[in-house]
Subunit: 308 residues, 2 copies
């Protein structure tokens, strides 16, 4: 039971070759990450092997792709956005490693492979997450600054999105919500922080790296916000509708952990309509780019229609 | 059995009122930290309460004091060094929270209080550490930049000291060294990273915040390096000679965990001579300041003679 095909108003896939965009950008991001992060042979080998194990476990590089696409929509050079795209991916990966720990979501599989702590033990997994979080800031600092967007502005953006009022707040609220009755409003609060904050940050950083205008940054902020929310709703739908093999991570986990999700609160059909509505709003935000944000449109559509 | 009184060549205490320096700086640092970190009432309360629990658990604020003293030695204003002093303290506190986790050193007491995970649970303790690490970068970015020391340079310094080649490398090597025979050389490698890296960083950042000269930065680097090493040797000595009550954390842990320490490898007497020799070298590094680094001298002496 896949998410329902998106309505025909999403036409970006006809105008844009997303598959080739994703293939080239994933390769470029992987190459850049490989250059930024210490080699596995760097002492102590354990920690660098563990960091690289999760960083190169076959992630879809959606956040870096969004960052690069946002930079492109604003006429920027992707090389200027690359350190920020990689920094966001490091933060995403660290959050998955810590989230999978027994004390948190307690997950054994991620991207079809044993989770970090299953391979390296809990102590090293905690440290590998810490190291990727720290590395993210070192990488982000290699970005180019502009008069409008200084290094201070850009890196603070990253710290805030990853911090205790955003990404970590979402993780905490998610942990604390398990087994409790939660309103759709509180669920939105969790999704805004757990998923939308970092995704929106990726898009905004792409714009900043291109020295975007204020109007462009506003448009990217709205786009990232809605795509981030849609992303999490689709994630919750897939947890119910797909198998562990299809997802590469344990399916049906949310119900088992008695987590509040849109499907649990509102049912599958309504959840699908919500995901579509959010993606529609993300599309609307891109109007100001007058057809120059095709990659962002195609990514939003892809994230809605994905099956894993 | 206290560490032997330091030889008479350490005379800084006669020329400098360290007690009053520490009292005023601790108050100022606590006030600044209180302003930088979200209030305990900020949503989600759990995470901010947990962050503040460890951040305000009565730490001695040695790293901030060293940072402020280094700034003073270079003629800087302490207010310019304050964000960096606080950022280093956040990183120090995060590393203690994660280090105390059952998967790492598994400690129940720190600074005379139950450790973070004993009060808030392991999941929140991991996230509180993550949040303090992230917060450190947001705070550090509030520093003042100079043509010689840009925000990029300053914050990269912090990221490197806390990263997988320094602080985290030390934690990993420490974890992996338990129960193994370790050479004095490898032990030095561990201490350089586990302790000296962040302490040296605190001192260097103080200098940078004061727009110090290259010669001053070199002197501060040497000073921080040797004081950091001496600090860890004294820590290892105190673990053997003091009680849990005196230390505020579990005493005798190193021997129980079969950790390599200077006392274990070389005996107490030789370890004391090593700590004195390292402090002596730290003093020598300060010569270039021609008597303007009294606070740093007094701190080095204090760290050598401390009994907890």
């Amino acid at each position: 039971m896949l998410p329902r095909p998106a309505p025909s108003r999403f036409r970006s896939s006809e105008a844009f070759d997303l598959q080739s965009f994703l293939a080239t950008r994933t390769r470029a991001v992987n190459r850049a990450l490989d250059g930024f992060v210490p080699k596995a042979s760097a002492k102590p080998r354990t920690i660098h092997t563990a960091m690289r194990y999760s960083l190169f476990a076959g992630g879809k590089r959606m956040r870096p792709a969004l960052c690069l696409a946002a930079s492109g929509a604003c006429g920027g050079r992707e090389s200027a956005a690359m350190p920020l795209a990689c920094a966001v991916e490091c933060i995403h990966t660290y959050s998955l490693i810590h989230d999978d720990l027994p004390a948190m979501d307690d997950d054994d599989f991620r991207r079809g492979k044993p989770t970090n702590h299953k391979v390296f033990g809990e102590g090293i997994a905690v440290l590998a997450g810490d190291a990727l979080l720290t590395e993210a800031f070192e990488i982000a600092l290699q970005c180019r600054g502009w008069p409008r967007y200084s290094h201070q502005t850009i890196v603070r953006e990253l710290a805030r999105a990853a911090g205790s009022l955003q990404l970590i707040a979402g993780q905490v609220a998610d942990l604390e919500g398990e087994g409790k009755r939660i309103s759709a409003q509180h669920l939105r609060y969790i999704h805004e922080r757990k998923t939308s904050a970092l995704l929106c940050c990726a898009v905004r950083l792409g714009g900043m790296s291109a020295n975007c205008t204020g109007a462009q940054l506003k448009a990217l902020t709205d786009f990232g916000y809605y795509v981030g929310l849609a992303f999490q709703v689709v994630d919750d739908i897939l947890d119910v509708t797909q198998t562990t093999e299809q997802l590469g991570k344990t399916a049906g986990k949310d119900r088992k952990a008695k987590k509040a999700t849109y499907p649990a609160i509102l049912g599958l059909e309504k959840s699908r309509r919500i995901a579509e509505g959010l993606t529609q709003r993300a599309f609307q935000a891109l109007k100001t780019f007058r057809g120059k944000a095709l990659a962002l449109e195609a990514l939003a559509e892809f994230l809605l229609k994905r099956d894993r």
